[in-house]
């Protein structure tokens, strides 16, 4: 099967003003995304993530390299008709109301006129905006409502490709859960999704693969949820008592549950767990052994480690 997105040795340089200093935003980036894959792009500010998205959407001219989207050029109209996009700096036509905005994009997307009203109302409903909100001028929307409306327009026409740049920025917790649910549904229905986000926990939750971009290069590529291999460190806090638990006993319990004992620094014990099922088994085993567990929480995710320690720090 041919990839949904193919990026080969892409170089993109910006020049600051006439005769200004050249800044290489992308430096030989290569990447292939399979149809139906959900790919997260992470990296520090200025790493080139948004530039990469801009190149994939055909907004920017490449200095070198090649990009194909479903075997075509990124600015091919067929590709655009199958694409949904939510930009990072979401600027909507503030003078329209929400429904008008969706109708406008529905028409621009060349979708069927007859289904316009139904499609727009359904899109509004899908992102949790009521009809009354749809009749409100966009200039009066809160940041979270804007993000929801932006996602609604990106979903118009059931796109096969979805490009999301910081999709949950400014969204309340209920909105984050809604976005997560929608993205999971889309992913399951075979939509190819690219998410550029600083919300590492969310990326870890919804993406199947993550690329770490730094200084215009892809420094690491990682499968996030290949089956159940979501390894992490679990911190278990124990009730303080006169007799601290013996590390050897904790290690034996952990081994019995398929986890690894890392260390005991009162009042916390740290275990390496491969997945959620191991976490459940470990906690059950600790409680069954009478270990006074008062709290358990995963420590930083692997993406967080990747982000803070670089590729070498990834487990």
């Amino acid at each position: 099967m041919s990839p949904a997105l193919l990026v080969e040795s892409v170089v993109k340089t910006y020049r600051a003003g006439l005769g200004g200093r050249a800044v290489r935003a992308l430096d030989g980036v290569s990447l292939s995304v399979e149809p139906g894959e959900t790919l997260g792009i992470i990296g520090p500010n200025g790493a080139g993530k948004t530039t990469l998205l801009g190149c994939l959407l055909g907004f920017l001219t490449l200095d070198a390299g090649r990009i194909e989207v479903e075997g075509r050029a990124p600015d091919d109209l067929e590709v655009r008709a199958a694409t949904g996009y939510l930009p990072e700096r979401l600027v909507l036509d503030r003078w329209m109301n929400g429904l008008d905005f969706l109708r406008y994009h529905h028409a621009l997307a060349r979708l069927r006129d007859e289904s316009r009203e139904d499609d727009c109302e359904a899109a509004l409903d899908r992102v949790g905006l009521e009809r009354a909100a749809g009749l409100q001028r966009i200039g009066r929307y809160s940041r979270g409502m804007l993000q929801r409306l932006g996602l609604a327009q990106a979903l118009l026409g059931s796109p096969r490709l979805l490009f999301l740049d910081e999709p949950i920025s400014g969204v309340d917790p209920a909105g984050v859960m809604l976005f997560r649910r929608i993205l999971t549904e889309l992913s399951q229905s075979g939509v190819t999704i690219l998410i550029n986000s600083h919300q590492l926990a969310e990326v870890e939750r919804v993406c199947t693969r993550v690329v770490f971009v730094q200084k215009g290069r892809i420094e690491a590529m990682d499968t996030v949820r290949a089956g159940a291999s979501q390894a992490r460190v679990l911190r278990v806090r124990l009730a303080t008592g006169p007799l601290p638990p013996a590390p050897s006993a904790l290690a034996a319990i952990a081994a019995g549950a398929g986890a690894g004992f890392k260390e005991w620094v009162a009042p916390d014990a740290r275990f390496a767990v491969a997945d959620d099922a191991t976490t459940t088994r470990l906690l059950a085993a600790l409680l069954a052994a009478g270990v006074p567990v008062v709290e358990a929480a995963p420590e930083e995710g692997r993406l967080e480690r990747l982000f803070t320690q670089g590729p070498g720090g990834a487990p």
Partner: protein
């Protein structure tokens, strides 16, 4: 051209209070003037004004506000976008002139005066052509400057050309004077079609000058927009 883009553009223009005030003032005063004098001489200049007011910031405001990214993520070509902006502003300017003339004719007839219908057709036609030409010039300037920078460019260029024309006339530099004059016609095109009503001879130079200004302006606007990179980093 996209009817969706054109309609949305005109709706957006009419939500701007400043534009509305300018259009209403000039529209009403022109209807009044036509009604009082019973003449439509020079009314084609109104179409030019309407088109400039409607076209101001046509592309530059989209660039500075950042709405172009969402638009060009849709199956919309850049030439289609430029053409739609141009045509909407030109058609809007032309339509306003026609409404102005129809209203004034109505008032004249109500006063028992018969408008000079032979004068109307050349004025209306010239007005429509000028509206589309001025709209093309402003769209071109708008592709070069963000926000309402096109208006700044327009007024600075007008000042410079007027000033240099005056200096050239005073110094007797005929070539410079002619150059300033012709370039001035790019910013404020003139077209007289009275010959259509059998008055005077046609000025083919004037007609070709207006049409070439229109074509060249659109070509430049399209070239600039086609080359524009849509990224805040590119800015």
């Amino acid at each position: 051209m996209s009817p969706t883009l054109m309609l949305a553009f005109l709706r957006q223009r009419l939500t701007s209070p400043m534009r509305l005030v300018l259009l209403v003032i000039v529209f009403l005063s022109s209807v009044g003037m036509n009604t009082v004098t019973g003449s439509f001489a020079g009314a084609e200049g109104n179409a030019l004004f309407y088109a400039i007011v409607l076209a101001a910031g046509a592309i530059g405001q989209d660039i500075s506000s950042g709405v172009l990214q969402l638009m060009f993520a849709r199956p919309v070509t850049r030439p289609c976008y430029v053409f739609s902006r141009w045509f909407a502003a030109g058609a809007g300017g032309g339509a306003l002139l026609l409404v102005q003339m129809v209203l004034a004719c109505g008032f004249l007839l109500a006063r028992g005066l018969r408008p000079d219908f032979a004068e109307l057709l050349p004025v209306a036609l010239a007005g429509i052509v000028l509206a589309f030409t001025a709209s093309a010039v402003i769209v071109m300037l708008s592709s070069l400057a963000s926000g309402l920078g096109d208006m700044a460019l327009y007024f600075v260029a007008t000042l410079v050309l007027t000033g240099s024309g005056q200096v050239a006339r005073w110094k007797g530099w005929s070539v410079v004077e002619r150059l300033a004059d012709e370039l001035g016609h790019v910013l404020a095109p003139q077209l007289h079609l009275a010959w259509l009503a059998g008055r005077g001879a046609p000025s083919w130079f004037e007609l070709v000058s207006v049409l070439s200004t229109l074509t060249l302006s659109l070509a430049v606007a399209m070239l600039v927009v086609n080359r524009k990179e849509l990224s805040y980093a590119a800015g």
